[in-house]
Subunit: 397 residues, 2 copies
């Protein structure tokens, strides 16, 4: 009686597995700056809390498997506000973006099929690889050029007869890169040429800086059947704990198949859908101040980081992450050491080792991901502590 | 560019797929009695609503992947109240019982492995078969003997070298059968003899009638490593829309593997975990009145059903379902006809065709599942309407 191969092989979350060391530091009275995980400190908007408080139901009932119609309509309207024509029947509410990605993997591929994803990528894709039994084929990008996509030929070299889809995440977690229209064109053309689905994780859509805007794959009129967008309110409305996401597709066959997977798990949480609806009803004005806040944090972060000797980095254009190369050999060892041994005035900082964001082994060992999810003052202090840590680490090891 | 085989083959929910016909009837002004789905009308307890209202958080944050410690402890304590010794590290909070079952399937089996399940079974297991790529091997039970388990030899005949687990659901959805201690012993012995995991869906634990009690597989001291229990607050506290369940195991390897699948989807909904904690803190006294209510409904239902000519049924011992054989040939056709054509004083009743609860094709075509989730008066009327419908149907077809 053994557990399964997939149960043995699925990765432990590289972000969460170091958490016990942080907990131990906190228990010992140390202040830990968490810039390792995408949990924003932005206050969840009041209409969300009001929705929880004002519920008039008597029975906390199941909802429809695809989510409530009013929420699906609100999300469709939201996209229409970006000149993307959608209706409620293109939107399927999921339990977080996480579930939408697993639905997408299950619908486009069978066990053993391949999905191409530029790496470094959101580490939980590795988990979905195990839970859906697909094979992720990584397309390795480079910190030195700001993680831009390679020429079409290099991407084509990754396509096999088992390839079912290309997955893009833009604005990107963990790199902060926002793909240009030209880069998107390149991928869209390949999807058409090789008859592939194109899955886009666009949960950081609003988080683009310096006046730029995000281009969605839903804006391409000639790939309505191929385009599957994964969405979430987690970052958009600082509602990570709500677990409300969406799978968006104009391909009815994809929608119906995803719906069947959705039916098996009954429905997304009822109360949170009401809360999400309240959030969408705030309108787009809400994002202005949030975007400004993150842009400021990004600028502060880059300013603080750039004088670390030997650092390699590019200013990210979106999301709230950056991957930087540091003058260290083993970032996982470094992160653990920061938590167990290093203190500056009884404080330490926690970043995420970048290895877990790569599928190719040996990659990212001298890189870390930093999430700029703290307010300016805390972020500055977190980086000061980090810099002192790097210096001390290099003296010792 | 085609969707996947699993996306094509996963079953459409046989319960939910007929819903559009009901919606149409309602839109035409017809009253529909829903006794097809396990959505109780029992009011969700006030402490649950209070927990939503009294949240003092500023940010709706991620929680731990395994769920909040206080809730895990409360669930462990709850089982201790049934003389089952558990601690918080045996409990992993899931997004509904649905997710716990998928975690269990993923942890005990790889694609192509087999899990034996007595049929008729909870129809969504068929969906999890597709989403986790396991093969369900049905062990067909019979309405005529009240869906009792067959002798050990018949069960052994289903075991192959690909069998990884046996799944039991008791009290059973959809049959209402509660397995006896002797039946459980039989399965436990087989699990030991053939070195299998034993997965038990015990979400209806409190719903046993006539003074009987439910025996959990967690009460067997010699299968601590094999026993995986799937639990949920959906029916227990009339919180179907909360999507809070749990996977319970004393096998640390199983727990750790399930935790990795859990990490990939980040966490269960934060607010609902608080609500669930409030529900558990009510104590066991809460269930007394609920149990009495369901027992009364069961008695009413059985009394009303028993004089249908040609019906075959056994009085269920638990849960709030019954599968009955009716003098009809195609129960799906019958259910659809009831929604589209049959009216008694502008009312109709919706039951669930039983085919979807069987994995073996051709089974259950003359059976339906009835959920006694309506209050006595409505339930009586629902059955009166159903009986008139059966009579008319048999006159016409």
């Amino acid at each position: 009686m053994n557990i399964s191969k997939r149960g043995k092989e699925i990765q432990e979350s590289p972000i969460r597995k170091l958490k016990p060391y942080a907990d131990k530091a906190i228990a010992a009275g140390v202040r830990v700056y968490f810039i390792n995980i995408g949990q924003p400190d932005i206050v969840t908007p009041q209409p969300v809390w009001d929705a929880f408080e004002n519920c008039q139901d008597k029975v906390l009932s199941y909802g429809p498997a695809q989510g409530f119609l009013d929420l699906r309509q609100a999300i469709a309207d939201y996209f229409t506000g970006y000149n993307i024509d959608l209706n409620s029947e293109n939107v399927l509410i999921s339990v977080g973006g996480s579930e939408a990605i697993q639905f997408a993997f299950n619908v486009v591929s069978d066990p053993g099929d391949e999905i191409i994803i530029p790496e470094p990528f959101y580490t939980n894709y590795n988990g979905y690889e195990s839970s859906t039994n697909v094979k992720i084929v990584p397309l390795t990008l480079n910190v030195a050029d700001g993680f831009r996509l390679p020429p079409a030929e290099e991407i084509e070299a990754k396509i096999s007869d088992k390839t079912k889809a290309i997955l893009l995440c833009s604005p990107n977690n963990p790199t902060g890169t926002v793909y240009t229209a030209e880069e998107l064109d390149r991928i869209v053309n390949l999807a058409k040429k090789y008859d592939l689905f194109l899955i886009a994780d666009e949960v950081y859509k609003e988080f683009v800086y310096d006046g730029a805007t995000h281009k969605s794959i839903l804006e391409y009129d000639d790939i309505h059947d191929r385009a599957i967008v994964v969405d979430s309110i987690s970052k958009r409305f600082s509602c990570c704990g709500a677990r409300i996401g969406a799978l968006i597709t104009r391909n009815p066959e994809v929608y119906q198949a995803a719906l069947k997977f959705a039916q098996a798990r009954l429905c997304p949480p009822t109360m949170e859908q009401r809360a999400a609806l309240a959030a969408y009803r705030m309108g787009k004005g809400y994002f202005e101040s949030v975007r400004k806040e993150y842009q400021k944090r990004r600028d502060v972060l880059c300013e603080e980081l750039k004088d670390i000797p030997g650092i390699i980095m590019h200013k990210p254009q979106g999301a709230f992450y950056i991957i930087v190369r540091l003058p260290i050999k083993d970032s996982e060892h470094f992160v653990r050491w920061m938590l167990t041994d290093f203190r500056l005035d009884n404080e330490t900082s926690m970043v995420a080792p970048a290895q877990g964001f790569y599928s190719s082994s040996g990659r990212g060992t001298n890189e870390v991901r930093i999430a700029y999810v703290l307010k300016e003052e805390d972020l500055k202090r977190a980086i000061t502590v980090l810099k002192a840590g790097i210096q001390e680490y290099n003296r010792l090891f």
